[in-house]
Amino acid sequence: MGFIPQSGGQMAEIETLIARAEALAFSSGLSLSTVSRKLFNDGKAINRLREGGQCTLKTMQTAQSRLAELEQGTSAATTNVESDPNAILSPSAMTHLDRLEAEAIHIMREVAAETEHPVMLYSVGKDSAVMLHLALKAFYPSKPPFPLMHVDTTWKFREMIKFRDDTVKKLGLDLIVHTNQEGVAQGVGPFTHGSQMHTDVMKTQALKQALDKHKFDAAFGGARRDEEKSRAKERIFSFRSANHRWDPKNQRPELWNIYNTRIAKGESIRVFPISNWTELDIWQYIYREKIDIVPLYFAAKRPVVERDGTLIMVDDDRMPLNGEKPKEEMVRFRTLGCYPLTGAVRSKATTLPEIIQEMLVARNSEREGRVIDHDQAASMEKKKQEGYF
C-alpha cells in the first residue's frame, strides 16, 4: 500500500484512531492486524499509520465508522455480505469468483498431469500474482510442480524486480530469469530502437529463446479474453507450431472441461487459466484473497515526465531527458511492463477498494496504458501470430 509520509493536518485524528483500535484489540481479544483488516481491508494499515503513514480522508471516515460499529459489537462489513436474494439461484454456495477460481485450478492440474515439462510465465504484474496464488492453491499442500519463468527485458521497473525476488524467496519456488543476451549485446532498448523493435527483440524473441532452451512443452500465461478483441476468441489451450506460430483458423474445439493436450514433438501449448476473468474479477480476487502485489499499483508520489499525453516514470538514469524536469506526481499504474512503455495515471487510490472504485468509474479500458497496442489496428492479433504471448 502506498502510504506516504504525513504532511500534517490529520495527525491528531490518526492518533485517536490508533488508540481506539488498540483498545478494541485488547478488549475483544482480536489481533491488531485483524482489527486493521476490518477497518482498512489491510492487515498492515494500522502499523503503517503508527509509523507515520497517512491515508485519504475517505478511507479514514470509512475506518472510523466501522470502528464505531465494531466497538458496539456489530460490523457493517459482515452484515452487508449476508443478504443477497440471488444467492438461491446458485445450486451451491459458490460465488462467481469461486467458480472462476475452481476453473483455473482445474486447468492447472490438467496441465501438470498431462504435459511433460510445463512452466508458468511470471510477469510480476497483478495477473501473474493471481496466477501464482491459484497455482499455490491448486497443488496445496504440494508446491506447484513447475518453475516460474520471467522474461526480463532489463527495462522493467526496479520495484518489480525486487518484488519478484522477494516473492520467490518467501515461497521457496524455482524461478528462471531469461534475458535475450543478443539483444543486450546490440544495445536494444525502447529509447534507442523504438517500442516495436524493443518488444519484438527483448520480449517476443526472448520468450521463444527461453521456451526453446528449456524445451518447455506447456507455458501458463495470464492473458484474459476481456483484454482485447482477438484474445476473446483464443482458446484456453492454445497451440503453437514448432516455430511458435498461432493459427487462429485452426484452433481445437474445447468442449465441457475436457482439454485435448496432445502435441507433436517440438510443438507447445500456451495455457490461459484465467481466460474467463475480467479486470474487475482480478481486482476483486486480489482483494478477497489478500494477495500481495507490486506497490506500483498503488498511488504514491513518483517522478514522471509527460510525453505525447502519457505519463512516464523516470525509474533510472537510462531515461534520456531532453531538458525535461521530472515532476513528483501522485500516480499509479494500471498495468506493468517496461517502465518507458508503461503510462502512469494520476490517482489518489492507495487502497484496493479505492483502486477498484477508480477502475469502475474510469472510462478507459486497461490496455489503453500500454503503448504497443496503439501501433496499428489488429496489432495484437498480428503479434500473436508471430509468437508474442
Binding site: 470509512t62 490438467e110 474445439p253 468442449l255 475480467t278 474487475l280 477498484i356
Partner: protein, 638 residues
Amino acid sequence: MSVTLEADKKLISEDVVAYLAAHEKKSMLRFITCGSVDDGKSTLIGRLLYDSKLLYDDQVSALERDTKKHGTQGDKIDFALLVDGLAAERELGITIDVAYRYGSTEKRKFIVADTPGHEQYTRNMATGASTADLAVILVDARRGVLTQTRRHSYIVSLLGIRNVVIAINKMDLVDYSEDRFNEIEAEYRAFAKDLGFESIVCIPMSALEGDNITTKSANTRWHNGPALLPYLETVKVRGTLTEKPFRMPVQWVNRPNLDFRGFSGTVATGTIKPGDEIVVLPAAKRSKVKTIITMDGELAEASPDMAVTITLEDEIDISRGDIICAGNAPAEQSDQFAAHLLWMAEDELFPGRQYLLKTANRIVPVTVTELKHKVNVNTLEHMSGKTLELNEVGFCNLNLAHPIAFDPYTENRRTGSFILIDRRTNSTIGAGLIDFSLRRAKNVHWQDLDVNKEVRASVKHQRPCVLWFTGLSGSGKSTVANLVEKRLHDMGRHTYTLDGDNVRHGLNKDLGFTDADRVENIRRVGETSKLMVDAGLIVLVSFISPFQSERRMARELLNDGEFVEVFISTPLEVCEQRDVKGLYARARRGEIKNFTGIDSDYEAPTAAELNLNTADIPAEDAATSIVEYLQENGYLNV
C-alpha cells in the same frame, strides 16, 4: 469488457466496499447466442453491452472509428464490430469462431459465447453450447425458422441445454407484426416439441433499434413476455447438480511427502463430507473420506464445481483417471457403448479405425465399431449411413481398449461426455455423449476387479496360449513361427516369440548343451512362457526341445488348452541336406558334441496338436494351418 448498470454507479462512488461485497455474491449465468448467418447475433451482443452504458470511452471511440472503416449500417453505429474480433472475419463480415464476452448487471454476471452461424462452424457452436446453461437462438423475422435454426436447436438440445430463448429479431423490418411473430413461434414450438427443452421463451426484438433488449419496447405492446436482459437476469437454469450422486474424477495425485497422499480433482456432481463412504472406480476399492483439503483450510463439505483435494481413511491405490464415487451409488463401467457423436473434422469418420477417446481425465484407444444411424438435424429422422462427415451427428457403437467408469449423458453431463482425438494429427475430431453400455452390467463395482489373466487377455481380444514348436535343427521351426507371428500381428493380436537367439544369449547364457543343461534350458523357457501367458499373450516357443519329459513339463505348467504343441516333422535327411547354418557338417566332423539327431536323441512327440512336415508343404501353408487351428479353436475370436 466490464459492464455495469447505472444503478451500480451510485453505490460504487458512495461505498465501494459495500459494492464489492454485493458484487462478489452475484450468481453467474453462461449462455450462448446462435442462429443463422445475418440474424444479427453480434449486433445483439454489441447492443447489450452498449445499452448497459458502461462501455469504456476508448472502446466507444474505437467502435466509431471502425464503423467508418468497416461498418455495414451506414451512419448508424455497427455494434457487430464490437464483438467481431479477428481481422479475417472483419473483412468477410461473418463471425467465424466462438467469442467469449463478459458482462455484469446488478443481479448477475454473464459469460456469453457468441457462436458462429455459418454451417461449416457448427462444431464451434457445439463448443459454446457444451458449457452453457441457456441458449439464445436468433431467428430473422423475415425468414422464419431455417435449416440452421433447426440444427442449432438440435445441437443445443443434444448437448444438454434445457432452456432456450428464441429471439425473433429484425421485427422492425416486418413492422413489428404480431401475426408474423405468432406464426414463427408456432412453427418453432412444433419443431422443438421432441427436443426435451424445459422452457422455450420467444421474444420479439430488434437488436439494431434496441427493442425488447434491456426494457420492453413500445413497438410491441402486444407482447406479454419479458425483455431479454431482465429475463436472463432472473431465469433459473442450473439444474440439480448437488442432488446427483457424488462423482469426482481424479486429476492429480497429491504427494508432497511420504506422509500425505491426497487426490485432487473437481467435483462433478453431488456432495461429500468427511466420514462419507466412497468407492473408487475402476478398482472398486472402498474407503471413507478422511479430510477435504484446500489451502484455505479443511472443508466440512465439497459440492459441484469445487476444486478440492480428498484424503481417505485407507491407503488404497488411486491414480489419475479413476473416479471417486458415492459408496451407495457408484458409476457404471464398460468398454462398449452406444453413444451420440458429433463429427468435427474435415476428414470423415472411419468405422474400424483406432482413435483416442478422452473423458474428464482419461485417454483410452477406441474404435467406432458400427454407425447405427445418422440423425437428420432438420427433421430429427434417422438415416442410414456408413460414415459421418463434418458437422454430422450419428448414433454409434464404440469399443474401448479398457473399461471406463461413466454415467449416461442425460443423467450426468460431466461423466457422460467425451471427445475423440485423431492419433496422427492430435486434433479434436468429435464430441460424444454416452447413451448406455452395450454390456450387461456385471456389478463389477460391488467387488474388487482383480487384474488377472482373463482381464488382461480380454483387453487384447484373444485367449492366451503357447505355440510350442519342436523339431530337429533346420526343420523350419523358426521360419514357420516367424510367419505365424507376422500374421497374428497383422490381425492385431499380441504375441511374443522365444527362441534360441533371444534366450540363449541372455536368460540362459550360463547353460551349455549337456543333457542336464538342455533340461534346465527348457524348464526356464517353460516358466517364462507361462508368465507371458499370464500376461495375456500368444507365445511362440521355437526350440528343438528333444525330450518328451521336458515338453510334458512345459505343458503341465499351463492350464488345459493353453499349450499347443506344433511338431515340425521334417525328416533328418532333409534337415541335414538343408544345413542352413552348416551345423550338421560340423557335427559330423565331430566339432560339435551332443548335436540332436547326430550324437544325441530326438524323441518325437506322440500326441502333438499339429504335425507339419516342411519337406511336403511350403512354410507359408504350414503357417496358414496353424492360424486356422487357432481360429477354429477360439483363441482369436474373443
